[in-house]
């Protein structure tokens, strides 16, 4: 089999894995929603599932809560991203922020939710801290979690989303051709007296936004259907629609599955609605912004972005530090009565207990992460190579870039249950294969996003030189490109593993609970009796991906000489 055949096969396989599970899963949900489910004795078609769902008294509240929390969280994260970029673009601080935020990106959603619960709990560290001044004996009876408007959900989602958006934006801004052009334009604007932040908003942002729109919409879509965070932090009467769907699917009364399937379809509409609202907001903003572009106001947005960037970054850093401190403290705590800031005694008991119980889940987690990430990285590399060889930098490349977002846009709760149904019918006894497939659906897009930039930036002249020296495309790929791309490949591996580690719903549903991973165990234990054990589990959840990233940064410096350090270029308009 020639190298070009492999490449062609890889391209088909890439699209297959990306799209088929979702298509199959959505069909597997549409059928029961339309009243067809032979296992429960329903062979006909009926509109009853939808009728029952729409008759539910809280359905509009649930959908509204999903819309509200996702839109608000995405807006906060987006504004934060823009403000931070406007404030720190072309500054050394930006690299530090980028490095500081990367680990937050690796934290699974479930761990983030547990962590925020530690912070917000009436007996959490923040409350203990204030109690040392107010001298209260008992924690506040009113919790900041579980509020009817889902503000705790918004906080957790925003904490998770901001680093993702920022890193996506930085990825775009660091592309050499883009970077060079934008730096020139920034210089011109600053020469004309525009202050730094204003130049960024009027020039860079306007060109950046179309490129990050898809990632932003993916974040929004994910937030509108996220399960772990609202399950741990959200209200329950009613909860968000996604949480209700999961509860209905898991209901002991099997006939609830019809209603759940119908709700999964409604969830897709809710996600769509969130996207439409965002795009409408975009249009409205464009009107105002277009006028501002030519207003000649040299200080526009300066105060706002400075203030917002400091506030949001300050909050994020404080929250992250407090969360980490309180989780580490709890994981070693013996007795620790409420107003005390530190435990009265320390113990290794919880770590010992957890590590004993976690042996198998850690093994499963590593196995799943390793297999799915290796497959994903291999497929993506071959796909990118085939793209480069067929010289497709035009419409096909952008098509691939857009298709990638389908798994990120279609809510997991909307297709995973259908996938499980079809999966049980296809391979009844298999556990690993379906779970790895379901992980791949999520791992491939992130690996692609992380690798594509580096791969497409690789200087094509190296390839020309190698080819002219008589090397075949296969030799060029293995002996030239892969070694040169060693660092980005390692980062992609670490990111893919982190994404796989964090998968809660796919692992739980597709394995039918038979494959315990650190994440599924952590979510289960978070509702258990021991806050101390929960802290250990959540820390383990963060440690695993972090180790992966450390390895990814360290290995290239060991095996190859580090690439030249990027230096911040350009200078600020000092007069602002």
């Amino acid at each position: 089999m020639g190298f070009s055949t492999v490449l062609t096969l890889a391209r088909y396989l890439f699209y297959l894995i990306l799209l088929v599970p979702i298509a199959v899963g959505v069909i597997g949900v549409i059928l029961p929603a339309a009243g067809y489910f032979p296992a429960l004795g329903q062979h006909g078609w009926s509109s009853e599932p939808f009728a029952r769902l729409l008759a539910h008294p809280d359905i509009s509240k649930m959908a509204g809560l999903s819309l509200f929390t996702s839109l608000l969280a995405t807006l906060i994260a987006f504004i934060g991203t823009v403000a931070v970029l406007a404030q720190f673009y072309q500054c050394k601080a930006l690299a530090r922020i980028q490095h500081g935020l990367s680990p937050v990106l690796a934290i699974p959603h479930a761990a983030a939710a547990i962590a925020v619960a530690f912070l917000l709990a009436p007996s959490g560290w923040a409350a203990r801290f204030t109690a040392t001044f107010t001298h209260t004996v008992l924690p506040d009876a009113h919790s900041l979690m579980y509020d009817d408007y889902g503000l705790a959900i918004v906080l957790a989602l925003a904490i998770k989303e901001l680093p993702f958006m920022l890193l996506m934006a930085l990825g775009v801004l660091s592309q050499p051709n883009v970077k060079q052009r934008l730096e020139g334009q920034m210089r011109v604007a600053q020469t004309l007296g525009y202050c730094h932040q204003t130049s960024f908003l009027k020039i860079v942002f306007a060109q950046l936004y179309p490129q990050v729109r898809l990632p932003v919409l993916a974040v929004l879509a994910y937030a509108s259907a996220s399960v772990e965070i609202p399950l741990i932090l959200g209200p329950q009467n009613p909860p968000t629609l996604a949480v209700a769907i999961v509860q209905w699917f898991n209901h002991t009364d099997l006939s609830m599955r019809f209603q759940a399937s119908a709700a999964a379809i409604v969830q897709m509409l809710v996600t769509l609605a969130a996207v439409v609202v965002w795009l409408l907001g975009e249009k409205i903003w464009q009107q105002g912004f277009r006028w501002q572009l030519v207003s000649g106001n040299r200080m526009w947005g300066k105060a706002g972005s400075t203030w917002l960037a400091r506030l949001l970054l300050g909050c994020l850093v404080t929250a992250t530090l407090l969360i980490m401190l309180s989780m580490i403290s709890y994981s070693f705590a013996g007795f620790w009565p409420y107003p005390n800031l530190v435990p009265t005694q320390l113990t290794l008991l919880h770590w010992q207990d957890a590590l004993q119980a976690l042996g198998k889940p850690i093994g499963n987690t590593l196995m799943l992460g390793f297999v799915s990430t290796c497959i994903a990285v291999l497929l993506v590399l071959l796909f990118l190579e085939s793209e480069q060889q067929s010289n497709r930098t035009g419409p096909s490349a952008t098509l691939a870039d857009k298709l990638l977002f389908i798994p990120l846009m279609v809510p997991g709760v909307a297709f995973l249950y259908g996938l499980v149904w079809v999966g049980q019918w296809l391979f009844a006894e298999a556990i690993w294969l379906p779970v790895i497939l379901s992980h791949l659906v999520y791992v491939i897009p992130y690996v692609f996003l992380s690798l594509a930039v580096a791969y497409r930036q690789l200087d094509i002249r190296y390839v020309h030189v190698a080819t002219s020296l008589g090397k075949s495309p296969r030799q060029v790929f293995f002996r030239l490109k892969l070694p040169m791309l060693f660092a980005p490949v390692m980062v992609a591996l670490a990111l893919g593993a982190a994404i796989s580690f964090g998968q809660y719903l796919p692992t739980l549903l597709v394995s039918g609970g038979r494959l315990a991973t650190v994440t599924t165990e952590a979510v289960a234990i978070a509702s258990g009796a021991s806050r101390r054990l929960t802290a250990v589990y959540a820390l383990m959840q963060m440690l695993l991906p972090l180790l992966g990233f450390l390895l990814a940064w360290w290995l290239p410096t060991m095996l190859f000489n580090p690439a030249k350090q990027a230096k911040p270029s350009g200078s600020r308009n000092r007069t602002c």
Binding site: L138, A141, D148, N237, A333
Partner: protein
Amino acid sequence: MPLSKACVIAMFIGAGWAGKAAATTVQFFGWGGSPQVNQYLQWVSEQTQARYDIKVNHVKLADTSDAVTRVLGEKAAGNSSRGSIDLLWINGENFAAMKQHNLLLSDWAEQLPNFALTRPDENPSMRMDFGIATDGQEAPWGKAALVFYFNQRLVSEPPASLAELLEFARQNPGRFTYPLPDDFLGISFLKYAALSLNAANRQLLYAPVTDPALATITGPLFTYLDKLHPLLWQQGEFFVRQASMLQQLFSDNEILLAFSFTAAEIPAAVSRFDLPQATRTYAMHDGSLSNVHFVAIPFNSARTDAAKTVANFLLSPEAQAYKQRVSVWGDETVLSMEALSKEQQQQFQTQSHPAALAPGAYQQLLAEPHASWAPALRDAWYARYGARL
């Protein structure tokens, strides 16, 4: 001493002698998922071997219903005297199924000499398993009962009845809650409240549920809960999904009163630092919902006499006291303290943990209502207070 009792004792002695001739092994089938229980049964085997020359072989089951299926299969195959199971640890559901299919030996449990120590006339739960009369087909072994716990440093006088609980909630708003009725502990709280608030109509709860009976019972129950809910943690807007969350909230002092169905887990949690040192456990004065777990003998056991000897030993003050030790199993005794001598009572007091329930703390045990009430109460609760998801 009545003649029948003397005969039974003579029979046991005889069984003991017979056993000496050829050491008997009693096949004890029971759930094997708990190391504490398994170790306790190991101890039981050593004791019965020394005393009666009977070995107890614990066949560890993952699910007790497997044993039910096995006996059913043996009956279907015509095996009515050489069954593989001699003694079986069951409760509730499985008992109902086995009784229905006549798979159990009848009229033996009440003839065990130690059965009288349970004072069955004062404790009707010794003869009822989830609302179904045991008819002497099961011997009680241990029991679990609803116990409440509080932090001694923060609460000086915990509520001793359901009425006082409402008063406690008024004085400490937001400091008590119970899990959703989907949870075992949540529905248990509702059962306790239903029993306590319907003292005059209590018999209704021990018969299969009917619509008028449900209306009668839920009347006072919902009146009470309507008053209680706004005073609960999160104003009754948010209920914890799992019983274990109660412990966590209590540990953080977010709630000042919590409850559990396993009294032994409270001192254990204190040792693990998951509950404060000042935690104290007690039982309500207006009754503690309790369910008893039993041992039964299948109809076709080949060694019924040895099985009865073991069941009687399991009911002895010594075996019950050892089982109740927190360090061994912590399972509550089914014996009535008043039926025991002073020395025997003292056996139950060894190795007490400050957070553990004091021996003899139960004022009155409330047997589980008929099995049909749990789903009925649950649905009525959701219909009234909204579907929590």
